[in-house]
């Protein structure tokens, strides 16, 4: 959390002035019992009506000045906390933008979203309360004690006893109940998990007629939660009665001591009333402090989580160039391989491939065989941990990622579109493209009917592309890649939801593109890639063969197996 405080730098003034004004307000509050004591001793004692009126006006004035101080403090606290978190959010978002694919995989997107949203809000609340109250409560507690000592040191000893006793109760109960609250949260998560699972598996569960057993499993979890909630409730319910007893016990002792001291003529009746008032103030503030500490602990935990994300090194910059390769090749793999950091096994090993401009490369293999990994090495989404990947003879690790990616159009496996118009979505490929260029890409991607059905380029795409079918989404993501007229086009299993006729038409139109991109087609179907200039067959992260369809059919057993399972055996039976 400490390192985050640099984002508070621009609000240094606010962060100092806020608590300061709050202390001023508390200071004025502490004077009130003294004024009341004066009214009793001098005003009532002497029957001086004018004095009473003046002192009451002093009370009003104290209140008014307190109000002004407090409003000022609230403003500074709000400004500092809101501004701080806005800066922090910006910093974190900018930081995440620079994460590599590998870092994104490792950290996990859902974590990042939580850090950006709920953790940020919690930090804001925590900082705001800290600036407003953290100094105020201890100030009032100890201030009240010091004031008591100025009135009568003998009676004030009860304050010195009351504060530790109250602290033990308040913070003790807090310490006991916090871990229990965590348990409650865990049990609640289990109830949540059960509900969620019941819904996601509704078809399977009903198919097996599991409704009754699901209910009893849920009841059991729910009962455990309720029992724990009640247990924590019983403990924290002790807080108020205990503090009430302590504070009143102290008041009784105070009055007794006061009585003895007044009898001896050491202090006045008004002073006893003032001491009594100070004692009452302490209780309120201690309870506020306890609640505040709970909030702050939570916020600090959230802040630490945010800090940990900020501490993850980000950025992908050009590194020193490896050996140059064949400049006549658009894309070249030389003994390239990658080992994802946490997985022990290499995901891809020893890929050798030379692709000339305009060629089409098919990549095929089973799930987890490394197809996506292979094409992800070209735009440097991941970096080869062994060997080299080169574009136009240059090691991609020595090229700045952004100009490199500018030349590559990719349609990823997961067809993602964003909530905005179709035009805006397609312009991701090329921000300058006009409608003609966009429509050309749309037609090339066989998506003209999609755009038409939705009502033109202005049609809105809902979040996650919900208002489109899987096939429609895939075609639009291909169009998005084509809008930039890329030198290298990568289609990562992005026609799997298309029917075979559309898929064939798509491949035909890709072959006829006037800018002749080098095309990588990742697929699970031999029919999608059999016309490629070269086909890379992957099996469990290893290259099982490279060649044309005919060559591979002749000498690559893995390819034969894939093809047979999808095509030949059946074709023979027809």
């Amino acid at each position: 959390m400490r390192k985050l405080l640099i984002y508070l730098r621009d609000y240094r003034r606010e962060s100092v002035l806020g608590p300061l004004f709050k202390l001023l307000e508390a200071g004025f509050e502490l004077i009130v019992p003294l004024v009341v004591a004066a009214i009793i001793d001098h005003g009532i004692g002497a029957g001086d009506r004018g004095y009473i009126l003046r002192m009451c006006l002093v009370l009003v004035a104290l209140g008014l000045v307190g109000l002004l101080c407090s409003v000022t403090a609230q403003y500074f606290a709000a400004k500092a906390s809101v501004g701080f978190v806005a800066k922090l959010r910006h910093a974190l978002y900018a930081h995440i933008q620079r994460f590599s694919y590998q870092t994104l995989d490792r950290v996990g997107v859902s974590t990042l979203i939580t850090r950006m949203t709920s953790d940020m809000n919690q930090v804001q609340t925590g900082l705001n309360l800290t600036l407003r109250l953290l100094l105020r409560s201890p100030f009032v507690v100890f201030g009240a004690m010091i004031m008591a000592f100025t009135i009568d040191s003998r009676a004030a000893l009860w304050f010195a006893a009351a504060i530790p006793a109250l602290s033990v109760v308040v913070f003790g109960i807090m310490l006991i109940s916090i871990p229990l609250y965590k348990k409650v949260q865990e049990l609640l998560d289990r109830v949540l998990g059960a509900t969620r699972e019941n819904l996601t598996g509704v078809r399977a569960l009903r198919a097996f007629g599991k409704e009754e057993s699901e209910i009893s499993a849920f009841d059991e979890k729910n009962e455990a939660l309720t029992a724990m909630q009640k247990r924590v409730g019983r403990i924290s319910a002790a807080m108020n009665p205990l503090t009430y007893v302590i504070i009143n016990l102290m008041i009784l002792l105070l009055i007794h001591t006061g009585a003895v001291r007044v009898q001896a003529g050491i202090i006045t009746q008004g002073a006893v009333v003032a001491l009594y008032n100070y004692m009452s103030q302490i209780l309120v503030e201690l309870i506020k402090l306890a609640n505040l500490i709970i909030t702050i602990t939570k916020s600090v935990a959230c802040g630490n989580r945010i800090q940990r994300v900020l501490e993850i090194p980000a950025g992908e910059t050009a590194q020193e160039a490896g050996a140059a390769g064949d400049a006549a090749c658009r894309v070249q793999f030389i003994h390239a391989g990658i080992r994802y950091s946490e997985a022990g096994d290499t995901s891809l090993t020893d890929v050798n491939l030379a692709v000339r401009p305009g060629e089409t490369v098919g990549v095929i293999g089973g799930t987890g065989s490394g197809k996506t990994t292979l094409v992800n090495l070209i735009p440097r989404f991941y970096e080869a941990t062994e060997g080299q990947v080169l574009v136009d003879g240059q090691d991609v690790r020595s090229i700045d990622p952004s100009p490199l990616r500018q030349r590559i159009g990719i349609a990823p496996q997961k067809a993602v579109l964003f909530q905005s118009s179709i035009r805006e979505n397609l312009r991701w490929g090329n921000g300058e493209a006009d409608d003609d260029e966009i429509m050309r890409a749309v037609r090339d991607a066989q998506a003209a009917d999609v755009v038409e059905a939705k009502g033109g380029l202005d049609a809105m795409i809902e979040q996650g592309g919900r208002n489109l079918s899987g096939g429609q989404r895939q075609r639009l993501t291909i169009a998005r890649a084509l809008v930039r007229r890329p030198d290298i086009l990568i289609l990562d299993d992005s026609s799997s939801a298309l029917d075979f006729a559309t898929d064939a038409a798509l491949r035909k139109s890709l072959r006829e593109l006037d800018y002749h991109p080098t095309v990588f087609i990742v697929s699970q179907r031999t029919s999608s890639i059999q016309h490629a200039d070269q086909i890379v067959v992957l099996d469990d992260g290893r290259v099982a063969g490279v060649g044309t369809h005919a060559q591979l059919l002749a000498d690559c057993p893995v390819y034969q197996e894939i093809h047979a399972s999808q095509f030949r055996k059946e074709a023979a039976q027809v």
């Binding site: 008014l64 809101v82 979203i113 097996f208 409704e211 409730g233 003895v260 006893v272 009594y276 998005r480």
Partner: protein, 589 residues
């Protein structure tokens, strides 16, 4: 607040009261006891005041009388504390019991909600109703219990005590306190629009973050990092502005009401002190002790006002949350099984679909007049492009949805006259979107047959070609797999689902052939397992493989949710329609 909302609130409140009914005795006890605590709490300052009156000055202190008073106060304080704890515990008990009841009820209702409701509502939304909303409701309910009632009693009680001490000064308090109410109200209404703006902007930002970070790889692939940050900053800037206003203006409530309290306090001090002076030496003097009691009341009197206005907002929020759960619970359940519904035991597998029409929404007709006669042991292949609506047919067969017109009959009985449970028990279903529960492999396998023996389980897994990989898992059959299969591959998950069916061996099957996301070897294994399974069983299979299609007794060709063609392979080819087109593009070189 608009009228319809008030009405809805009243409806929700009524439901809340219904849930409270079983605990009425405890609630009554809680109310009585809190009245007692309030009375005792208020009585203490009076006694302290009396004690102070006996400390007038040197030589004017009645120590023995003071000691007597202090002992009395001590006893009262101890009693109050005990009762206070009891009240809190009772309130906790009632709240958590009610919350448990609501959750149980909601979960039970989920079991009988029609699939149409569950399919139409995002899982996250329903889960948040059952979990987060109920939690909010619990907080509000507890707060309402503990503070609303005690607050009101404290106000009345304080007023009573003040009047009994000195009606004139009590009048000062009564006249001044509504000011704090007015101020709080004024601030609340004026900050409402800022709060609304803040929550809207926050929601906008969350949605943006969700969408962009959720697809950060795409953002990077297209080099949109700068642009994404720009758009983020724009929203962030707006959020900063409206958050500042919302937080600042709302944080004015406390200082302002506190100022009003100070005014009340000064008013009591002034009038009290003046009365003291005026009545000094008379027969019924207004003493300093009485004044100090009044001052402490003045402090206490205004506090519940602030608390109550806080509690009211909290309660409104709680009611809004409760209304969402209650709405879920009030959703019409699926039509219950007919009273005379028969139990279907060991069906032979004869299915008769006659004149069936079905659509999810009335304005988009889907299946119209579907007729299909399936003899025991026959194989029906459902063919069509992805997203053609094959799940619709499964939904109808399993009676996840009811037909709009016509009827589906199994063994000659309309399935609406068969208990759902026994109907579904006669089907074995393996879909591509596999679902596994968080639990051990064994627990997942025995979902349909909880009493299966070890031998049966292993035999089923062997038949499903799943035994090998299960044995290689870290703890074999006892390996814990997370929700949605966790570390298992798609193909392994499907093999588990097949083994699960293999264990119960129901007479009819609904299968979904693998398309692309499974590697060849696993696919062959799944195919072999399917073949074993289908032997002699009526099967509906969503087919992608030519051999499956050709061997089918009936082929249903679907497109955009409609059944466009129906027949045998050769017949359909001869027809030269959609099937022929599909077939040629897929399988002809």
């Amino acid at each position: 607040m608009s009228k319809p909302r008030q009405k809805a609130d009243r409806g929700t409140l009524k439901t809340v009261l219904l849930y409270l009914k079983p605990y009425w005795a405890q609630a009554l006890l809680s109310v009585l006891l809190s009245a007692v605590t309030v009375a005792l709490t208020l009585y203490v300052p009076v006694l302290i005041g009396r004690a102070i009156d006996r400390i007038v000055g040197p030589g004017q202190v009645e120590l023995s009388e003071i000691l007597r008073l202090l002992t009395r106060i001590g006893v009262i304080v101890a009693a109050t504390a005990a009762v206070q704890w009891l009240v809190s515990t009772i309130n906790n008990h009632i709240t958590y019991q009610v919350v448990r009841d609501v959750r149980d009820q909601a979960f039970r209702h989920l079991q009988i909600l029609p699939l149409s409701y569950i399919d139409a509502h995002p899982v996250g939304g329903i889960v948040s109703s059952v979990i987060a909303d109920v939690d909010q409701f619990a907080d509000g309910l507890l707060l309402g219990f503990t503070q609303l009632f005690t607050g009101a009693v404290t106000i009345l009680g304080t007023l009573g005590f003040m009047i009994s001490i000195r009606p004139g000064i009590a009048a000062v308090v009564v006249l001044l306190t509504p000011l704090s109410f007015v101020v709080a109200r004024f601030i609340a209404t004026h900050t409402y629009s800022y709060f609304k703006q803040q929550s809207e902007t926050r929601a906008e930002q969350t949605a943006f973050i969700d969408e962009m970070l959720g697809n950060q790889k795409v953002v990077k692939a297209f080099g949109q990092e700068e642009k994404s940050l720009e758009r983020f900053d724009e929203i962030n800037g707006r959020l900063e502005k409206c958050s500042l206003k919302a937080i600042f203006y709302s944080s004015l409530t406390n200082p302002c009401t506190r100022f009003v309290n100070n005014l009340v306090y000064a008013g009591v001090a002034l009038s009290g002190a003046l009365v003291c002076v005026a009545t000094a030496g008379t027969a019924a003097p207004f003493t300093v002790g009485a004044l100090s009691a009044l001052l402490s009341y003045a402090n206490q009197y205004t506090k519940p006002f602030n608390e109550i206005s806080g509690v009211v907002t909290e309660l409104q929020n709680a009611l809004a949350c409760a209304s969402r759960v209650f709405k879920l619970i009030a959703q019409p359940p699926q039509i219950p099984d007919a009273a005379d519904a028969r139990e279907l035991n060991e069906a032979s597998g004869q299915v008769e679909i006659s004149g069936v029409a079905f659509s999810y929404t009335p304005d988009r007709p889907l299946i119209e007049n579907l007729n299909l006669h399936v003899q025991p042991g026959q194989r029906v292949a459902i063919v069509g492009p992805t997203g053609c609506g094959k799940t619709t047919l499964i939904n109808l067969l399993m009676r996840f949805y009811d037909v709009d017109r016509g009827a589906i009959a199994v063994e000659g009985t309309d399935i609406r006259r068969i208990t759902r449970r026994s109907l579904r028990a006669n089907y074995g279903m393996v879909l591509q979107e596999t679902w596994l529960k968080a639990g051990t492999v064994r627990e997942n396998l025995t979902l349909g047959k909880p009493d299966a023996t070890e031998e049966e389980i292993v035999a089923a897994c062997r038949a499903a070609h799943a035994h090998g990989f299960i044995r290689r898992l870290p703890q074999g059959y006892d390996t814990f797999i997370g929700e949605d299969g966790g570390q298992l591959s798609q193909g392994q998950k499907q093999l588990l689902c097949i083994a699960r069916i293999m264990l119960c061996l129901p007479p009819m099957l609904i299968l979904d052939e693998a398309t692309s996301s499974i590697d060849t070897r696993t696919e062959i294994r799944i195919q072999q397992a399917f073949d074993t399974l289908m032997r002699g069983r009526t099967t509906f299979i969503v087919a992608h493989r030519l051999s499956t299609i050709r061997e089918a007794d009936i082929i249903l060709v679907m497109r955009d949710g409609h059944i466009v063609e129906q027949g045998k392979h050769e017949e359909l080819l001869k027809k030269n329609g959609f099937y022929a087109k599909l077939y040629n593009s897929q399988f002809a070189a």
